[in-house]
């Protein structure tokens, strides 16, 4: 059980966080680079000290104005991004390093994470996937009350990813906070997501809640939506770059407009006809995703369109091509800010 309510002054901004993670909960922490995610983990593990506020682990105050419990006594399992394995020790020696580990538990975990065949290998000789599994196993073996994972499956082979995910989905009893860049992983592993931007929690909720009403451009980009801040004046909203978007409902003041990628149609020639928003753009990137193709478009507005494979082939699109993108006013999701 983890309760944090405080702030930490950093070089470029102040990290402010108020969050609570229960014993059986797994929470994912997402955010752009440099937003303070890793620092937040360090705060909880005791490698940083709060400037204001307090932190409790299982109702014990470990960090406050007049208390600071050293990381060695906090019982927190911290797996940093670069694993920090003890290269000169074997895999088994790494895992059983913590004085809180028990032989039985260590054997069980070695099996669970499929490390039996390399348990006597020097940790420095392990592959990326093996290292990550060892690091996580080592942290779990220390019998922690809180588990902190910094990008546990980034860049890993499929097998290692699966083993780690399997453990995280089935384990019980330890409050887990994990940092990831992959919203799909976050959605599959955790009941709750926290989004951290420039040191502040901008949104916190279930994957569905975030998908349905993303609070910031970053949240929206996570769920694969186009997010456009603008100022509305009746049925027309103007973006910061001067692009006019036609809305389906009259509204006044600053708004956030979401353009679902699937509602964007692409043309080689400028289409004429029903009231639609029509913009010219250049293709900057093409990504095939299953049955569809995601196309990143740059122009007066930067956005992403998702079209079917068929449509893609008919249009014969290439990177650098100039196309027309059109979408109906009724497809837009407009929320006042």
């Amino acid at each position: 059980m983890l309760q944090l309510n405080g702030s930490l002054d950093l070089e470029h901004f102040t990290l402010k966080a108020r969050l609570e993670i229960k014993e059986n909960e797994t929470v994912s922490l997402l955010g752009p680079n440099g937003s303070g995610k890793s620092t937040l983990l360090k705060l909880i593990s005791g490698l940083e000290k709060l400037t204001t506020g307090n932190l409790r682990i299982n109702t014990n105050i470990v960090d406050s104005e007049n208390t600071f419990v050293h990381s060695r006594f906090r019982n927190v399992g911290w797996v940093p991004q670069n694993q920090m394995l003890f290269d000169h020790l074997t895999v088994k020696q790494n895992i059983e390093f913590s004085p809180n580990s028990s032989k039985k538990e260590v054997s069980k975990l070695i099996n669970l994470f499929d490390l039996e065949h390399i348990q006597d290998k020097k940790a420095g000789n392990c592959s990326g996937g093996e290292s990550q599994r060892v690091a996580i196993t080592r942290a779990i073996a220390s019998n922690p009350q809180v588990l902190l994972l910094d990008e546990p499956s980034t860049g890993l082979d499929e097998k290692s990813k699966q083993i780690i995910h399997r453990y995280l989905k089935t384990q019980k009893g330890v409050a887990t906070l994990l940092i990831t860049h992959d919203p799909l992983e976050a959605a599959s592993l955790s009941e709750r997501l926290i989004i951290l931007e420039k040191g502040e929690i901008t949104q916190s909720g279930t994957p569905d809640e975030i998908r349905n009403s993303p609070a910031t451009p970053y949240s929206a980009s996570l769920v694969g939506l186009n997010f456009v801040p603008a100022v509305a004046n009746g049925l027309v909203a103007m973006t910061s770059k001067g692009v006019n978007l036609i809305l389906s409902e009259s509204i006044q003041g600053p708004v956030n407009i979401v353009i679902p990628p699937r509602s964007i149609a692409l043309y080689r020639e400028k289409p004429i006809g029903s009231p639609r928003n029509v913009l010219m753009a250049k293709i900057s990137e093409i990504n095939h995703v299953g049955e569809n193709v995601r196309i990143n478009l740059d122009g007066q507005l930067n956005f992403m369109a998702e079209i079917t494979n068929n449509a893609f082939e008919v249009l014969n699109l290439h990177k650098g091509d100039e196309v027309w993108a059109a979408f109906k006013a009724t497809e837009l999701i407009t929320t006042p800010t």
Binding site: R72, W78, P80, M84, S142
Partner: protein
């Protein structure tokens, strides 16, 4: 080889020849035919054994005390660290005879510490083997500390912090993580300081004096022999040369700062 500029090769060759010439001169003058006779003498045996004892004892002391000093210098943030480091490195720049004289001022019979030791415990440090070891420790400690301090610095603090989050005590981390990782540097530092201790002359002769069997190490014996028995001096020099090479060659790989 083709990628090295010609000028670099030329300068390196000149430097190597310069360093080799005295060695060649030494070997060329060696009285090879009488070596067997000379080497059997008591004086040489005494000096040889004493040098081994003093240099290895000094290396042991340097190891035990040098590691904490190096760790302290590498990890602490006190403002007087710069001053402390200068003090630790002082023997490196001090002429050895000055070092020996300074040791007398501290530990000689009239020295501020030596006087107390003499009055209260009847202990005299000059003119004893212990004195030779002290002089050797004084001049060779900085070499070890420099090598080990930079090794400590190269270990990421995050590694030690990760070990802390696992609940390990400071001593466990120090013994099981930190020391093993800097082990090669410790060996290199020890080899360097041992070699310095072996060759130590100025501070030894000033502080510990010159007495066969007690304080007459190989360098002192050589210096004396140069004036009274040049052939013995050559034989002694050969003994020193062989001894140094025997210890340093096995450590040649540790000189490289890789790992």
């Amino acid at each position: 080889m083709n990628r090295i500029p010609k000028a670099v090769v030329l300068i390196a060759t000149i430097a190597i020849l310069f360093l080799l010439s005295p060695l060649i001169g030494l070997l060329q003058r060696m009285p090879w035919s009488e070596l067997a006779n000379l080497l059997g003498s008591d004086v040489i045996l005494d000096a040889f054994l004493l040098s081994l004892f003093v240099s290895f004892s000094a290396a042991l002391v340097v190891f035990v005390f040098g590691i904490p000093i190096a760790w302290f210098l590498a990890r602490s943030n006190f403002s007087f660290m710069k001053l402390l480091r200068a003090v630790v490195l002082l023997p490196m720049v001090l002429p050895p005879v000055v070092g020996g004289t300074a040791l007398l001022f501290a530990f000689g019979r009239q020295g501020f510490l030596g006087k107390w030791l003499n009055d209260w415990f009847g202990l005299t440090l000059p003119f004893t083997t212990a004195g030779s070891v002290m002089a050797a420790v004084f001049v060779s400690m900085p070499f070890f500390v420099v090598a080990v301090e930079s090794a400590f610095r190269s270990i990421s603090e995050d590694l030690e912090k990760t070990a802390e989050t696992l609940g390990a005590s400071s001593s466990k981390i120090f013994l099981k993580i930190t020391l093993p990782r800097i082990f090669p540097s410790i060996l290199a530092g020890l080899a360097l300081s041992w070699a310095r201790a072996l060759g130590e002359f100025g501070a030894t002769i000033t502080f510990a004096g010159n007495m066969p069997g007690e304080t007459q190490t190989l360098p002192l014996a050589i210096f004396l022999a140069l004036e009274t028995n040049p052939e013995a001096a050559l034989a002694l020099s050969l003994v020193m040369l062989v001894t140094s090479l025997a210890i340093l060659i096995p450590f040649r790989d540790q000189w490289l700062p890789s790992r």
